[in-house]
Subunit: 334 residues, 2 copies
């Protein structure tokens, strides 16, 4: 146990020795001998922007210095930290749950929205929109305890593979972004996820894959209640959405969970879902950085763009930094 206070004389002696030691190391260390913190990023203006930014906001006494408690970095997940094509990875989890549910109760095969999933009827979801997605999420994610849900999600991630990339879903994370997360944490940033996926699905792998603990995951969520199940007090998942975390509700989610305007936000081009939280960060008084991942690498991942170009348009208008997967990243996956 750390009793928080060491006896004074020991403490003073230890401090002096430590200080001397650290000073000696720093003085002996030629600046250019530092290892590249972003080895999977190609040299160029984007990599330099990131490194300069981290240097500026952590330089004590500097004009742009930001105290540790305000070093909040927020990342979208699908398409920003890992692949979201041809559909977000959580959709495969939903499909897998539907197949298991139908195997147990074949009458579901004829009922919507299960039928649309089994028949890959995208038209159904286009016609019924968010309502159909919410029905599907609540049908596959609810009526169980949090522990049961986590174990279902873990089993899916441990046993199944991304159909196009042929690798475990957790291995569809982008190596350059993992390096960026590590660089930020080494400079005492808190790293958070703020994504449209469900919080509880992301919490199952965020720590292992990204080093982001469950309490720093903000996502969509279903309603829950406190309930006694088999004599154990637990959180029971109800078949209804509590919140959908997308577009204008992302900054609200950040406020709900963090309460501090982010210093850095990373999002991606696909559905203009990250613009609001990037603008929210940009309105921070003082320094801030917004990174917009552009999926322009058909060879190594997927190439896609928005119909209306909204995200790239916002990047031009507000000064977000656009990251080209093709030109700025040496490698995509680990």
């Amino acid at each position: 146990m750390n009793t928080s206070t060491w006896p004074e004389p020991y403490l003073r002696a230890a401090s002096r020795t430590l200080l001397f030691l650290m000073t000696a190391i720093v003085v002996a260390l030629p600046l250019h001998a530092q290892t590249d913190p972003l080895p999977s990023w190609k040299e160029g203006p984007v990599k330099q922007t990131i490194i300069d930014f981290v240097q500026r906001v952590t330089a004590e006494g500097g004009r742009d210095f930001v105290p540790v408690e305000e070093r909040i970095a927020v990342f979208d997940n699908d398409g920003t930290l890992w692949t979201e094509k041809p559909v977000p990875n959580e959709v495969y989890f939903v499909q897998s749950r539907v197949k298991e549910m139908v195997a147990r109760d074949p009458s579901l095969r004829k009922r919507q929205p299960f039928r649309a999933v089994l028949e890959r009827d995208e038209g159904y979801f286009q016609r019924h929109g968010a309502q159909a997605i919410a029905e599907l999420v609540t049908a596959t994610h609810a009526n169980m305890t949090q522990e049961q849900f986590a174990s279902e999600a873990r089993r899916f991630l441990d046993t199944q593979r991304h159909p196009k990339l042929g690798r475990p879903y957790t291995a569809t994370a982008y190596q350059p972004m993992l390096e960026l997360l590590a660089l930020l944490r080494a400079n005492r940033f808190q790293t958070w996820i703020c994504s449209g996926g469900t919080t509880d699905f992301m919490r199952v792998f965020s720590s292992q894959v990204y080093g982001i603990p469950p309490e720093q995951v903000i996502g969509s969520s279903i309603k829950r209640e406190f309930r006694v199940v088999s004599g154990m007090r637990t959180i029971w998942r109800l078949p209804a959405m509590e919140s959908v975390n997308d577009r204008e509700t992302k900054p609200v989610g950040i406020d709900r969970h963090i309460g501090i305007r982010p210093l850095l936000v990373a999002g991606n081009v696909l559905s203009d879902g990250d613009i609001a939280m990037m603008e929210y960060s940009k309105s921070r008084p003082g320094a801030s950085l917004q990174l917009l991942i552009n999926h322009d690498d058909a060879e190594r991942e997927f190439a896609y763009r928005e119909r209306d170009n909204a995200s790239l348009g916002a990047a031009g208008q507000y000064g977000f930094t656009v990251v080209s997967m093709k030109n700025d990243w040496k490698r995509i996956f680990r």
Copy 2:
């Protein structure tokens, strides 16, 4: 900037020296020379229970060892970390806001629920219950940006004093609990608040008073939206409640914000509001500790009990540790 990787030879030399130094300190340090981490707690079974618990769950290799990421400690605020009598401190903030609003618009004086506040008509609130409280909170806490609200709350806390205790509200925090928070953090616990007060009011002082950062405050909250105000993207406070954090919704709030069953929960006797989250912690597999603060010290603070004795009853039934302010605390305030 910390580039996260030091050159290998320096690192190895530094590690060896550090290890030697730390070993020397630990070996040289007689166990009984450690300073008391809880000086405001009287010696006795309660203090010993706390110290033993922290020792057990942090002893590597021990049967009850709990990894750092699961060391979650959750504290109720009103009546657990600071005074809640004769009414919770935030109620004085609401009163102060009502007075200012009426000064600007005297017609409000005749309208409920403002009139009931000005006339100290407790009957009105008893008759209209949670609905009236919610109306009051939304009327006094909404229709402004988060920044404006924080500045209002800060001004109140900086300028006004608790009417019975005659000290600033932030000085109504309990010294023994501040020591407990520090002891837990020194042993790498995360310390959280989970309280019926509003998140945004508590966030204004939680860091300064308790060392608990804004992102670790769970409370009741009003609805918000992302809005452009005077050209700035901001979070606008809407006049409606989003969630009330009390009783059975406290474990839900913990799940929403943390996603990990707490290892330690502290609550207090007044309105049975903390029983559910204490039970939730108690159902954790393995070690856990629940502290129930009993307000039995009329001389130094306030003495009060529950009509139905529900919290003390639950303590007996589930094995929560009851803390007597009169017998277990040497001092109450700083």
